[in-house]
Amino acid sequence: MKKENKKHLGRRQFLKKCAKAVCTGLLLSFVEFKNVWAKQVGNGDKSAERKYAMGIDIHKCIGCGRCADACKKENKVPREPHYFRTWIERYIVPIKGEPVVDSPNGGIDGFPELKGDKGILKMFFVPKLCNHCAHPPCVQVCPVGATFTSRDGVVLVDPKYCVGCRYCIQACPYGARYMHPEKHVADKCTFCYHRITKGLLPACVEVCPTKARIFGEVDNPTSPIRRFARLHTITVLKPSLNTEPMVLYAGAEGMVR
């Protein structure tokens, strides 16, 4: 019975302490929340300028796979068929029903011939790569800061700092990331950062024989990407996710995802 009394006294103290702790916690989290809010809604983040963009013209792509091949050579991407920084999909749209998509070895070895194209409405190729989003979900989820947006707006991976938790691979809506089988870190397209910072084009853009891939600096009025964006109706992949990609598609239909 004596115990009971003490317990009551104690409870009041606990509640006070609890209230204090909760208040401090709320204050702290509000400060962080403001930062996060600003970043997510996208008006407060001035640190990363979005300098580069890539344009992809679906009507020009012939599906030769030179881009995916050059990317693997330039960036020493493992040649095995399940690791790609860029790849090409073939869309086969039937007259009725859902489109069928394939990408054997990322399109590097070409696409198998189709037997009997009677029910087909149309076909086209869609090159894919990291979208270098303005709001990259991969960067958001990286627990250690091993993937980040550089000051010129390119999403990069620090191979010496990545712990290999693969959370970023799960968070990427575009399947643009993979686990490097030898380095055991996440890996993905860098827009050929080592080339573009020296005035060269990304390897895939360099070798594209039909200029289906366009690359340039967004702020430069004479840059090919400006002309590309002016002359075409631009769409991005999965716009509903609000990632704001910097890979712009011309001629990609709503079914492309």
Binding site: K73, I92, G110, Y161, Y193, P209, T210
Partner: protein, 246 residues
């Protein structure tokens, strides 16, 4: 003055050690360039920049091979970079005599782009590799740096492969392209400036398919007045494969 309980003192010491240890360890383990520009190792950017370049870029080729470059710049292959066919050549730029890029001498390389594939955009020049002068190396007729055809094409299928393929297995297989299309003189050399003529009226198809047409009885007949009402024939029938309803 209330006495601080013994438990709090011993726990306090323990926690202070733990937190202190954590703070010190943190100082020690955070890479020095971390957080310079953002929540990442700033040095990583420089390290990524240092990655080895494998593809030299067409401008590098121009420095020595300007003659070929200029020729190519005037040709249909003006957008095809040198390294598409010759492979990555940064090592050749660095050591021009020691490393020589391959000069493809087969049909495979050209077929990667020019073999017929239905999803390719219309107008992109395509051939069926197996049937197009089998056994001959492409280079023997086409100069890769200036691939304008050595002679004007003999058949429409050289360019309009997709249509040709469709038509060849359709009931219109026996018809020449010129049966329906008028081909202006300049179309073979500059196709865009001289477009071919197409039928404009139902009566054109009626020349063969109307009930009173003066042609073989095997050809399918319709009543031109009632069939399909006011629609134009090609709104329902694709003329190059007329059985398909699209």
């Amino acid at each position: 003055m209330p006495k601080i309980p013994q438990q709090v003192i011993s726990l306090g010491i323990l926690f202070l050690i733990a937190i202190g240890g954590f703070v010190i360890a943190r100082k020690f383990f955070i890479p020095h360039s971390f957080g310079l520009y953002g929540h990442y190792r700033a040095d990583a950017v420089e390290e990524i920049k240092k990655q080895e370049i494998v593809y030299a870029g067409a401008k590098a080729c121009y420095d020595c091979h300007d003659d070929i470059y200029d020729l190519k710049a005037q040709s249909y292959h003006k957008d095809v970079a040198c390294e598409v066919c010759h492979g990555p050549a940064a090592s050749h730029v660095e050591n021009p005599d020691g490393v020589l890029p391959p000069i493809p001498n087969d049909r495979k390389g050209c077929a990667i782009c020019h073999d017929y594939s239905p999803p390719r955009p219309t107008g992109f020049p395509q051939i069926i590799e197996a049937r197009h002068n089998p056994g001959k190396v492409c280079k023997s007729c086409h100069n890769p740096h200036n691939p304008t055809l050595p002679h004007t094409p003999e058949s429409c299928s050289a360019c309009h492969r997709e249509i040709y393929m469709k038509k060849s297995i359709s009931s219109h297989a026996s018809l020449e392209c010129a049966t329906c299309h008028t081909v202006p003189e300049g179309h073979l050399t500059s196709p865009r400036a001289n477009e071919v003529g197409k039928p404009q009226k139902r009566e054109f198809c009626g020349q063969c398919h109307a009930e009173d047409a003066q042609v073989s009885k095997d050809i399918l007949r319709i009543d031109l007045k009632t069939h399909g009402e006011r629609s134009l024939c090609w709104e329902c029938h694709y003329p190059h494969d007329p059985e398909t309803n699209t």
